[in-house]
């Protein structure tokens, strides 16, 4: 029985289980307030959440399997693969965000996608990448490094009102196979932002 129903989100932390009694690799850690507020309902909600999170990790591992060094049929991990992975991770958070707040989502993904050597920053970047680009805008000709450079500068480009313009330029250069290597492209972006900042 819930003592009081409140429409507040459940704050959770996904922790690696060091619990020798636990059959699961992860523990969902909750704040006291949510638990007491929701009463017994919290258990069904968090168990469902845990199941979905573990499925996410399994699905993500499938997508990322070719990147895994242990994978036998290793192939190039394309930008589209990165986008699919980022989309999966971002969609999960969008799906649960009405009900849950995961306080350590990127850290948890970074830890639980073991074998893929993704830092939590990289997890954050691929999620943003999937959010900023549609599937159609993800081309084999554009490397993930280019997309990542663009993603890092995205807020500044937006601030200067040149986000769409630069995105179109990137996609066009990719289609026309006129893209400089990603280090040069990063420099171009830096100069673009500096010039715009100066002109303002």
């Amino acid at each position: 029985m819930a003592l009081k129903q409140e429409s507040q989100k459940i704050r959770v932390k996904i922790a690696k289980s060091d619990n020798k009694f636990s059959k699961s690799k992860i523990d969902i850690i909750m704040d006291v307030s949510n638990v007491i507020t929701l009463g017994s309902e919290i258990r069904s909600k968090t168990r469902k959440f845990k199941k979905e999170y573990l499925k996410l990790i399994a699905d993500a591992k499938k997508i990322a399997s070719t990147k895994n060094k242990k994978f036998k049929k290793k192939k190039k991990f394309s930008s589209l693969d990165w986008w699919n992975l980022g989309k999966l991770l971002d969609d999960f958070n969008t799906k649960i965000e009405n009900e849950f707040v995961i306080k350590n989502y990127t850290q948890a993904i970074s830890r639980d996608l073991e074998g893929f050597e993704l830092s939590d920053t990289e997890v954050g970047v691929i999620r943003q990448f999937a959010r900023y680009f549609t599937k159609d805008e993800v081309l084999e000709e554009i490397s993930i490094a280019h997309y990542r450079d663009f993603t890092w500068k995205r807020n500044q480009l937006l601030e200067h009102g040149i986000l769409d313009q630069e995105k179109n330029r990137l996609v066009k250069m990719g289609k026309e196979k006129k893209l400089p290597d990603h280090k040069k492209y990063r420099k171009e972006l830096q100069l673009l932002v500096i010039r715009r900042g100066g002109s303002k």
Partner: protein
């Protein structure tokens, strides 16, 4: 000695039985007074006159005269049998038939009654450790039906106590009866009941499982005075006699400025069969009705915008963590702080504690989010909950992740989660146990020492903890 075979009436040790009767009552000094007035109310008397006086050296009297119908011969004969009463459970307060006939060692109770036709009289007293009743010729002259009780005693301290406390005790216990029309006169002075001065008044009836509890809700102009250090928002009474006073279950959810202004009077005749023989408490079965009443009161409080934003969950959490944080400041208990064990600074708020070092700056780093109370004070601990059905432990200290993890899938948690009070107790016991156990190993405490330490901590924080 040979014991003969066969059936016989079981004997009772009168002295012990009397002792047991007395022990039933919360306040022995007031037994006779409350019982006699209760009996008068039960027979629909509208007036009770009390006289307190010193009759001779070391001899005092307290007498009562009511204007009830008096007792006829049969009723008077029954009245002289301890434990016999013509009243039935659920019909009033005086069903046990004991209290009004319980004289002390050096006292005597005299009763005279006039039913409109005849007058009967008897005395109750103790002789050779046995309770005696002696019928005699009446000495009082009645002009109309009624019953006269007289308590004769020799204890001057008791006389002094009554002189000082009789009026306030009667007001405290029979205020509702007086508001409902009972006149109580002490030494020819009519006692004035306390009339609530309020800004809001609402009456209603709680219907629960076929029983009705009429109540009146007041929002007082002034704060109530504390009784025994507590505010009693709800007064359960039966036919005007206050049985028990309780704090609102949602007391801490009420905005502080209104917490002591809520006063609810409940006519509990509908649940009087739950009354214990001492008539100042109910058997546990009444709790469901108390809960239903509290839900109703909460609805009223919400409509009147008296409820604050703090939920009981926040209170439970903050109360516990704050109480322990304060405890850890005491040098006697500071070594128990998980903070000193793990080298982490720990906040009591909803967030995790900050990463720190074992040095004095240990509470630096990312602190708990804004609500943290003890985190900012550099002590305390963080409590987190975990759903671990396979784990047989009710809780454990996670040193790496810096919190006490309470298992919400543990059978003990499941059993207590339906009651905020039970949950509070469970959490407190479990957390203290985890903290003590974590340190017991390091300090090489014996089982007994660890157990004593747990008891000491819980005793130390009990007043802050169990609201």
């Amino acid at each position: 000695m040979s014991i003969p075979f066969g059936e016989k009436d079981m004997e009772f040790d009168g002295e012990h039985i009397l002792e047991d009767f007395r022990d039933m009552y919360d306040d022995v000094d007031l037994i006779v007074i409350f019982e006699v007035i209760s009996n008068s109310i039960d027979v629909n008397a509208t007036k009770v006159e009390l006289m307190l006086s010193q009759t001779k050296f070391e001899q005092y009297e307290l007498s009562f005269l009511d204007n009830g119908p008096g007792m006829n011969e049969k009723k008077f004969a029954d009245f002289q049998v301890a434990g016999r009463s013509d009243k039935t459970k659920g019909s009033g307060i005086g069903f046990a038939g004991i209290g009004a006939k319980l004289p002390g060692i050096n006292s005597k109770i005299s009763v005279e009654t006039f039913d409109g036709k005849n007058t009967y009289a008897c005395d109750f007293y103790i002789k050779n450790k046995k309770m005696k009743v002696k019928n005699r010729k009446p000495t009082e002259y009645f002009t109309k039906p009624g019953t006269f009780y007289k308590l004769t005693f020799s204890d001057k301290n008791y006389y002094n106590f009554l002189e000082k406390s009789l009026e306030p005790e009667i007001i405290q216990t029979f205020n509702n009866a007086m508001l409902n029309g009972l006149d109580v006169i002490i030494n020819r002075k009519k006692i004035k009941p306390w009339i609530p001065s309020f800004t809001e008044k609402q009456s209603g009836i709680v219907n629960h499982k076929g029983r009705k509890l009429p109540f009146t809700f007041y929002l007082l102009k002034e704060d109530q005075h504390k009784i025994d250090g507590k505010i009693s928002n709800i007064e359960f009474h039966i036919t005007g006699k206050t049985i028990v006073r309780k704090q609102l279950q949602i007391y801490h959810e009420i905005k502080p400025e209104f917490q002591n202004k809520i006063y609810v009077v409940v006519d509990s005749l509908g649940i009087s069969d739950f009354l214990k023989p001492d008539k100042v408490s109910f058997k546990p079965g009444y709790r469901q009705y108390k809960k239903a009443l509290n839900i109703k009161i909460k609805e009223i409080c919400e409509k009147l915008n008296l409820v604050g934003t703090a939920s009981i969950s926040t209170i439970v959490h903050n109360t516990l963590t704050r109480a322990l944080a304060d405890l850890f400041k005491n040098p006697e208990f500071s070594w128990l702080n998980p903070h000193s064990l793990a080298g982490f600074g720990i906040g009591a708020g909803p967030g995790t504690g900050g990463k720190g070092t074992k040095s004095s700056k240990s509470n630096s780093g990312k602190s708990s989010s804004g609500k943290s109370s003890s985190g900012s004070r550099g002590s305390g601990f963080s409590l987190k909950l975990i759903d671990a059905p396979e784990d047989p432990r009710p809780a454990y200290l996670d040193i790496k992740q810096n919190f006490v993890a309470l298992n919400i899938a543990h059978p003990l948690y499941l059993k207590s989660e339906n009651s905020s009070k039970a949950l509070q107790v469970h959490i407190a016991y479990t957390v203290v146990e985890v903290i003590v156990n974590a340190r017991a190993a390091i300090k090489s405490l014996t089982i007994q020492e660890a157990s004593e330490l747990r008891t000491k901590i819980l005793t130390e924080i009990k007043d802050k903890l169990w609201l």
